[in-house]
Amino acid sequence: MAERTPRIDVAGLVFRVGGLAAAGRAWVEERYGPFLSRRAPTFGVQVRVSERYRPGRMPRPSAAWHDGRFALASHPSRADGDLARRRVAFRAGPGPALNPDLFRLLCSFLLMQKGGVLIHASAVVDGSGAWVFSGPSGSGKTTIAGLAGDRVVLNDETIALRPAPRGWRACATPFYGSGGPSMARVNDSAPVRGLCFLRKSSRFAHRRLTPTEVVSRAFPEVMLPKRDARVAERLLATLASLGAAVPAWELAFTPDPAIWSYLDGLD
């Protein structure tokens, strides 16, 4: 019987992950379990272990893109891909079979090609849509996700935002943060109700952000290196479109379940 080749669905991008040994395949199925899919793949990822551990200074992650080909690196792994052929050669170093840092970079890069972004944020579905909470480490993303109660948490660390026919959608990802795997248990999506940039406080307060402020707050939170001019240019365009379409606030909050009724009253 032919062995299964795992397919992973992240925000509608379906990756067929080939080249894995049995142990690597088992690891991928365990790590990405809720995101395994039977949908037709949109990208083929061929994993090859080809690099040894090299001691010394760790290079920064990078993303470069030219003439439909791209190269992504997150030490010690790198991915070289062809957008037209929908193929990626994923050269793994020692460690996980599908390095989550590089796989996240790959998802982010391909999502950008579809007009979306992968952003450092948590998201919780409440009522008619998802509240997206963004900010740097320590700003309270996981804290808010922990206040969700019986609401669906899309993730506590990494959220995909995609344009849809009617507004933007927030999509779950498998790239959880300090909340652990329980923060990436469902592969779901919802229309974005609002985007909040967090600030911890002793009380609730908010301020509506202008589209320019949305772009300048969101830009550093996009999970892609911005040292390639074409990448940066594309991100500016995408975030400008997001900022024009999605209501956004600066939100000071205290860890209290009353946050959900506070959010209902935002204007």
């Binding site: 320019t212 402020e213 300048s216 550093p220 911005k226 040292r227 940066a232 500016l236 365009a237 400008a240």
Partner: protein
Amino acid sequence: MDSTESFPLRKSVPWRTLDTEALVVDVKGGLLYPLNSVGARIWDLCDGARSVDEIVGVIADEFAAPETTIRTDAIEFIERLADAKLISIERRRQGESR
């Protein structure tokens, strides 16, 4: 900084205007610089042809502030853009002016 110099934008710098403001990316540092409406207008006027005097003249026509204040602020702003390598400072060719 004098009237013989002009300030072309660096070709590889991504930027975008939103309403009256602008966002400029320093790709070397991966940083984003938000510019307010005055900064965005100066950025727009850094076209590689205008001198600082001409830029100050336009800003003084469009914004309500003393010209001496505008000059001081504009020179400081242009120098910061140049330090961040977002624009160049070049000598204008003889006789070139707008």
